[in-house]
Subunit: 364 residues, 2 copies
């Protein structure tokens, strides 16, 4: 690594034969400061010739805006989807010429949530902080967050003061029931989760609502189990063991992991997917949907969008230098679109038994 001395604004000024003031003005396009076209050109030429890059630290110190936003993730960096939140936040930040600094707050050893992490960020003068959490209803934020614009991902602020965003689990669930009903299904089973987290309630509620709205009966159609493949196997097995006339023609699973168990159960019952049963998952958890045959139709979580939403609303708060208006409208719920793949069909669409592919299209 070559240790060329960094070129500063002073160097550019000398090279262009003007003052640093002028250099700063033209490079930053300061309004109401009409430098002649000539000087502008000279300055710009000098800057590019020298490869001048402003020192943002110095600028930040002066302007009192670091143009950095901090992302503290609460044990989230470990979860499969965290990457998408980070990516969404980072790309939104780049578009605004902001930079994203991340810190993970391990929940394990400490009771008090993320206070140290937030302080570290604040010492660095971040202009705002995003606190990302998973699987929470309501959360108490460290008071450190009151001294800087903040937003919350994946939960709601207990104090109700901080803008927040969560997935619209309920809407996502409702939309799959609607889709299934629209394609003719009348008996739509739901493999519910036996673990009580907000997603459990939201997805269940969405299912129930949409069933009712479609005039379908959810009664006898939901069975709860562990939200794992084994639980899905059990629950689906229970539903599928019924008389054909009582048996669901479609099964909506709390999550993709349960869906893999449901696939297994269907196959053991000699039922083909989607011809004999349609199956829908939730989460779009790689690599599950694509590695099932047929590929699993499932509901996508808006991780990327939540990350982007967070920096965008933060950016607004930063410029407006004030709290957003209607705090009561939080948490914002972002849509969970369906990723349609191959596991849904109208009930008995095939009209008869076609040849059953054994594993993947390429086989046989």
């Amino acid at each position: 690594m070559v240790v060329t001395k960094q070129v500063g604004i002073k160097d550019v000024a000398v090279a262009a034969g003007v003052s640093v003031t002028t250099v700063s003005h033209v490079l930053n396009d300061v309004p109401n400061t009409r430098a002649s076209e000539q000087t502008r050109d000279r300055v710009k030429a000098a800057a590019t010739a020298l490869g001048y890059r402003p020192n943002r630290l110095a600028r930040s110190l002066r302007t009192q805006m670091s143009e950095m936003v901090g992302l503290v993730t609460e044990e989230i960096a470990t979860t499969p989807h965290a990457g998408q939140i980070i990516l969404g936040a980072q790309e939104a930040a780049s578009k605004r010429d902001l930079v994203l600094t991340i810190i993970n707050a391990r929940l394990n050893p400490r009771p008090r949530v993320g206070a140290d992490e937030i302080r570290a960020l604040i010492e660095r003068q971040v202009d705002g902080v995003i606190y990302a959490t998973v699987f929470h209803d309501v959360v108490s934020l460290p008071k450190e967050m009151n001294s800087v614009p903040s937003v919350l991902i994946g939960a709601q602020d207990r104090a109700g003061r901080i803008p927040s965003v969560v997935p619209d689990e309920r809407g996502g669930a409702a939309s799959v029931v609607e889709m299934l009903a629209a394609s003719g299904h009348l008996r739509i089973g739901f493999l519910a989760s036996a673990v009580d987290v907000p997603a459990t309630r939201g997805r269940y509620a969405g299912y129930c609502e949409a069933m009712a709205a479609a005039g379908l009966t959810a009664e006898e159609m939901v069975v709860a189990a562990e939200p794992e493949a084994s639980g899905g196997y059990l629950a689906a097995g229970q539903l599928l063991a019924r008389e054909p006339a009582q048996r669901p023609t479609a099964m909506f699973c709390y999550n993709d992991r349960m869906a893999v168990g449901a696939y297994r159960a269907a196959s053991e019952c000699g039922l083909r997917i989607p011809d004999d049963v349609s199956i829908v998952g939730f989460d779009d958890q790689a690599p599950i949907p694509e590695s099932l045959f047929p590929a699993l139709t499932t509901v996508t979580l808006p991780h990327y969008d939540m990350g982007a939403w967070a920096v965008n609303t933060l950016a607004e708060m930063m410029v407006e230098r004030k709290q957003p208006e209607r705090v009561s409208s939080y948490p914002v719920q972002l849509p969970c679109p369906i990723a349609a793949r191959g596991s849904v069909a109208p009930p008995h669409s095939a009209g008869g038994h076609s040849r059953t592919p054994r594993f993947n299209g390429e086989v046989d």
Copy 2:
């Protein structure tokens, strides 16, 4: 958010009745500057009383060390394991009181790799940059990286100038063969990948070497296919279709996705895992290993460790202000330890046919 004026070093100085120099000295424990115990106490008391937190931007400007390191990830933020690289880097950074700033470089729209991203980081005065890539042999780095200490994850610098770290794919593969051989397996199949990336070659080489070293013949034991479940199904099917005497008693799969196909093939052949065939994967790609029954024994990738290694060697370069000595020793290869779960047993260990669990232990 309360807009309390930030307390500065001057405020502390006034409160303690000393100069800012003294405050700085005692708070930073500057050597050779013996302030009386009394003043030290007074200063510290004042600082905590006021809740003073030094402005690191200002400090950085003065010391010319930002204590920030930049992580540019090349399309990696999308991959499942990226989170672990980021986490490893972040936690190592925190331990050194460094902060991690990340930028994703989308490969798609741009030919030139990451130059803009690195410039953005350099403007921010990062003390070093980590460039993380996946699935590469050798890579040409943007020349911007020459102006700041840098390290590379997941590839090797074409110019051979930059320290780099990669997983020891070969060693990982060899260790599974050794494990399998040690437990008595003589016919160890390898489901190779038909896609030519460095991991393909490394894992295959490790397999071959270890087979030879164990006096086992790899001949006829390897079949290549797409590195997906479907490919694994095909390849395993081919191996398992043989006469029992020729049939492998263990199958080592290029990756976990192929292993899921291998499970399927084994089950269709009426073979129990691990009693009749042992199966080992590679990648430890969540949630595959835990969602298979029995849970898949597989090889772990050192993503976390590579992230940590990167900031640690970067930190050394930063303090030493020089290139590390023996550049020729790069890339460093980090071990890929085996995660032992339930899919390996000695050949025909059971001595007879025990009851076959249908799906997961909880079933039946």
